[in-house]
């Protein structure tokens, strides 16, 4: 028995695939699948034919072959006898180094500039606006090249430090040399017993944390405000210095010294790394400054006024009330700025800093002629770095989020 409420049992017609919303999306997806397969066939067929014509094949064997070129900054041991694969690893580490350094300094510059852009001081405000606009509106490549040129042309050559009347001198008790080839810093030498010093140092850092937690607990439980800043500083330095003195300076410094045509010893920070690092941080800092400013403006004025009514000073209002709330607005765009720094660090190739692009996408590609393999691998590396940065930063962002009921 049929009633009016029963739907019509429609027989399936071909036109329903197009005109019936129940099936239409399936049809479209099927057509899309066919289109994707057709594209794959087109691209793949071209690739196979072009490779056959050029007498090439796809093979990653070159990664095991001897690289035969030098890399000027080696976080892990590497020489020209090593493989292309190891050269790519060195490049990857160099990329991570400059990206990491850049993220830290860009954040500092950005937060300072962003806060100062809202300063009551007219002159400071204007200078910071000038900084932000100048750096945001000029390509980062031009900044990298300008700063690199300044490094090369304005810093003294190593031989300027030579002779009885040197035209250049080292800084900080002859420990730091700034030359046009790079900056030379003292390097710690780990002697016998240095493990103990490091142990003391780590213990004192843990001590600082425990002390601060104790002070906080005292404040919350008993309302006693214990000063934390100077005790922390003391805890940071004194145990290590004591350990050094008692154990007879197991950790000593090796100073850079002029030997031959260049400085030897110590840590070398390449001019290209400094140019890239500085340019990336100051360029991205301008963007972060804008994010910080927007974040601070997003905190309602009532918060500042309430904090002022409680008797907090402007500095503490910023630190304790405004910035923690602004952070929630600032962090998401900050993540994408970190990603930008990582991606822009590939411009290292313009100043000869041997990062991933310089090794795998540069010399390895040119030497082996393995263009497809190198570029694909290069993209894969960057993709992994980007995805992991956004993954970890998103976790951090979720912990910082306002806990809503």
């Amino acid at each position: 028995m049929t009633t009016l409420a029963d739907p019509h049992k429609e027989s399936f017609r071909l036109s329903m695939l197009l005109n019936d919303t129940r099936y239409r999306s399936l049809t479209f997806q099927f057509i899309a699948l066919v289109a994707i397969i057709a594209t794959m066939a087109f691209i793949g067929g071209n690739l196979v034919r072009n490779l056959a014509e050029a007498g090439l094949n796809i093979s990653y064997d070159f990664l095991g072959a001897q690289a035969g070129y030098d890399i000027n900054q080696r976080p892990i041991s590497y020489d020209s006898q090593d493989t292309h694969g190891r050269a790519a690893m060195v490049g990857l580490l160099n990329t991570l180094i400059v990206a990491f350094l850049g993220c830290i300094t860009a954040t500092i510059i950005g937060v300072v500039a962003g806060v100062l852009r809202l300063s009551p001081n007219w002159l400071v405000r204007k200078i910071m606006a000038f900084y932000v606009e100048i750096f945001r509106n000029v390509p980062v490549l031009i900044w990298i090249l300008i700063i690199f040129s300044i490094m090369i042309n304005a810093a003294p050559a190593p031989n300027a430090f030579r002779g009885d009347e040197p035209t250049a001198s080292m800084w900080l008790f002859d420990s730091i040399a700034v030359t046009n080839r790079g900056v030379y810093l003292p390097k710690p030498v780990w002697g016998a017993g240095s493990l103990l010093v490091v142990g003391v140092f780590i213990a004192s850092i843990i001590g600082i944390f425990l002390f601060r937690r104790y002070a906080r607990k005292q404040l919350f439980d008993h309302g006693k405000l214990i000063p934390t800043f100077w005790p922390s500083v003391a805890l940071f330095f004194i145990p290590v210095i004591l350990a050094q003195l008692v154990l007879g300076t197991p950790v000593s410094l090796e100073y850079p010294a002029l030997k031959g045509f260049n400085f030897r010893g110590g840590i070398t920070i390449l001019g290209s790394l400094i140019a890239l690092w500085f340019a990336l941080s100051i360029y991205t800092g301008a963007f972060i400054a804008e994010n910080v400013r927007a974040g601070i403006l997003a905190v309602s004025k009532g918060q500042t006024e309430a904090a002022g009514a409680l008797g907090l000073r402007p500095g503490r209002i910023m630190n304790l009330v405004v910035l923690p709330q602004a952070l929630r607005v600032i962090i998401p765009p900050l993540i994408s700025q970190y990603l930008n720094i990582t991606k822009n660090s590939s411009l290292a190739i313009a100043v000869g800093y041997m990062d991933l692009t310089g090794t795998l996408g540069g010399i390895t590609l040119l030497q082996t002629g393995r263009a497809i393999e190198s570029v694909l691998l290069l993209m894969l590396f960057y993709l992994i770095i980007s995805l992991s940065i956004s993954f970890f930063m998103n976790i951090y962002n979720n912990t910082m989020k306002l806990q809503e009921r």
Binding site: L14, A32, N46, L123, N137, L145, A371, I372, L378
Partner: protein, 518 residues
């Protein structure tokens, strides 16, 4: 009470005393300075520090700028002139005068053709006007639509008839669409639909059959040796079987669908006009423009793409890629919002992949890899490959901006469109996109500015844009080696002027479009 008061008070003022001026420290410029510069110890220190920085900067830059030498043939001559004049520092702006053409137009563009670039640039401003400022007459948009063809002719040269014929064929294609969708009676349309359905169905089946063969060919050349190869071999075989099995059913289905749409004319008119456009471009384009050109030759000296250079190249890449990537970005954003998992998945993978890699790797793809993926007989030149890759790059970013705009629309807008009975296309075109795009304009402008700055990256794959020009021919020349402040400063200034004005425009537009009443 009041009595005693009246007796004790000897004097009551009956007139109001005139207002006294505020204390000198609390008025005018002094007050402003006190409040804005010296309101506390910290602020005073900050002000003095800032003043020190500004003064040092001025002392450093002004003599350098003021003493600048504008006429010299080499850096050495510049330094000689400065030394003779007894000036310590001075810029050598002569490099800009000497290499002006190179910096702006590149070193291969024919000199007597510079007016073409300038004219194209001026017309760009006219063409962009109505798109940027809604107060300008709407009729000017006609010129905007015509501009790409004119600019192509001006920049690349050749015969004017080529772009005009292309334009004519596009208009003809649109007329075919109009004609089939509305003008002709249904019974004729049924016949047309049948014919087009058969052609398209057969063509599609044939294409898929070839595709299946191609996939088998790929699978066999991949082989089964190694670790990844067997998987790829299997995948390609599965796809080949899929394509083979479905080539005839797909052909029949699509042919039927086209035939079946004769009543409302939607699908058939799209397919027919695309078919017409394709055939017209393949078989009609070159005969027509060559014939027209032989009757009335209007020609400019043709310039090859590889001869473009200097700031002009940056402008070219910037304008072309931004304008191409906005429609592509809209499609990607809509695809990412789509409820269909396959289409959504493809868009997500594409967008996240592009956003995860640096532009320079995509330029490497354009430089060394893309040629392998295209048919052996096709020869896209480098600039075209770079345009393709930069467009893909920026479309992913624009798609994310527009997705933000789409997500910001209240759900009620979608539901209202549905309740009015609009289909997906109408709702998107009439309700969703106008509002979503309005929200996304500042973001799109940001992407555009970023993209324009990123066009300097092409210098790394040895194209001679502004930066490539400076790093290559200028700094490597014997006369101008180690001149860097002047040239980079000039480059920075050009970019600053363009990018700053765009961002100011965006802020102005944001205020204009803020039609909500808070």
């Amino acid at each position: 009470m009041s009595d005693t008061h009246a007796q004790t008070v000897a004097f009551v003022r009956e007139t109001e005393i005139p207002q006294s001026p505020p204390p000198a420290l609390e008025a005018g410029a002094v007050k402003w300075v006190r409040e804005n510069l010296f309101s506390g110890i910290f602020n005073t220190v900050l002000t003095l520090l800032a003043l020190y920085v500004v003064v040092r900067f001025a002392i450093f830059v002004f003599p350098w700028f003021y003493n600048g030498v504008w006429e010299a043939s080499s850096r050495k001559e510049c330094l000689d002139i400065l030394r003779e004049a007894g000036k310590g520092t001075g810029a050598c702006f002569a490099v800009l005068v000497d290499r002006w053409d190179h910096l702006v137009f590149g070193f291969k563009y024919p000199q007597d053709g510079y007016w073409r670039i300038l004219l194209a640039f001026l017309l760009l401003i006219v063409a962009a006007g109505p798109a940027l400022f809604s107060s300008l007459p709407r009729r000017m948009l006609l010129f905007t639509a015509f501009y790409p063809f004119l600019a192509f002719w001006l920049v690349w040269g050749g015969s004017l008839w080529l772009p005009l014929t292309i334009l004519g064929l596009i208009i003809a294609t649109m007329l075919v669409f109009r004609l089939i969708s509305s003008q002709i009676p249904v019974n004729i349309r049924q016949i047309v639909s049948g014919v087009i359905g058969v052609i398209c169905g057969a063509g599609l089946a044939y294409l898929l059959f070839i595709g299946a063969q191609e996939l088998v060919f790929i699978a066999n050349s991949v082989g089964t040796e190694g670790m990844i190869a067997p998987i790829a071999y299997g995948v390609f075989w599965i796809m080949a079987i899929f394509a083979f099995v479905f080539c005839v059913p797909m052909g029949i289905f699509v042919g039927y669908a086209i035939y079946n749409s004769y009543e409302d004319g939607g699908l058939v008119s799209i397919v027919a006009s695309l078919l017409f456009g394709y055939l017209a471009f393949v078989y009609l384009l070159s005969p027509i423009w060559m014939a027209l050109n032989s009757i009335i030759p209007i020609e400019l000296q043709a310039v090859a793409s590889r001869d473009m250079g200097g700031f002009m190249l940056n402008m070219l890449l910037g304008t072309i890629c931004v304008s191409l990537s906005i429609p592509l970005g809209i499609l990607l954003a809509l695809g990412r919002q789509s409820p269909m998992p396959l289409i959504k998945g493809v868009c997500v993978v594409f967008i996240e992949f592009i956003r995860g890699v640096p532009l320079i790797t995509l330029l490497f793809v354009a430089n060394v890899m893309l040629a392998y993926f295209l048919p052996p007989e096709s020869n896209f030149d480098l600039i075209l490959r770079v345009i393709i890759m930069i467009t893909l790059f920026s479309s992913a970013y624009i798609a994310e901006v527009i997705r933000g705009g789409l997500a910001a629309l209240p759900k009620g807008q979608y539901e209202a469109a549905d309740s009015l009975g609009l289909d997906y296309g109408q709702a998107t075109r009439l309700i969703i996109l106008p509002q979503a795009l309005k929200i996304s304009i500042p973001g799109i402008v940001n992407v555009a500015v970023g993209l324009f700055k990123d066009t300097t990256l092409v210098s790394i794959i040895s194209m001679f844009d502004l930066v490539g020009m400076i790093r290559g021919p200028i700094q490597n020349s014997t006369e101008w080696t180690s001149v860097y402040w002047e040239v980079y400063g000039f480059g920075a200034m050009l970019f600053f002027v363009v990018c700053y004005s765009i961002s100011q425009y965006s802020q102005w537009l944001e205020r204009q479009l803020n039609t909500s009443h808070h």
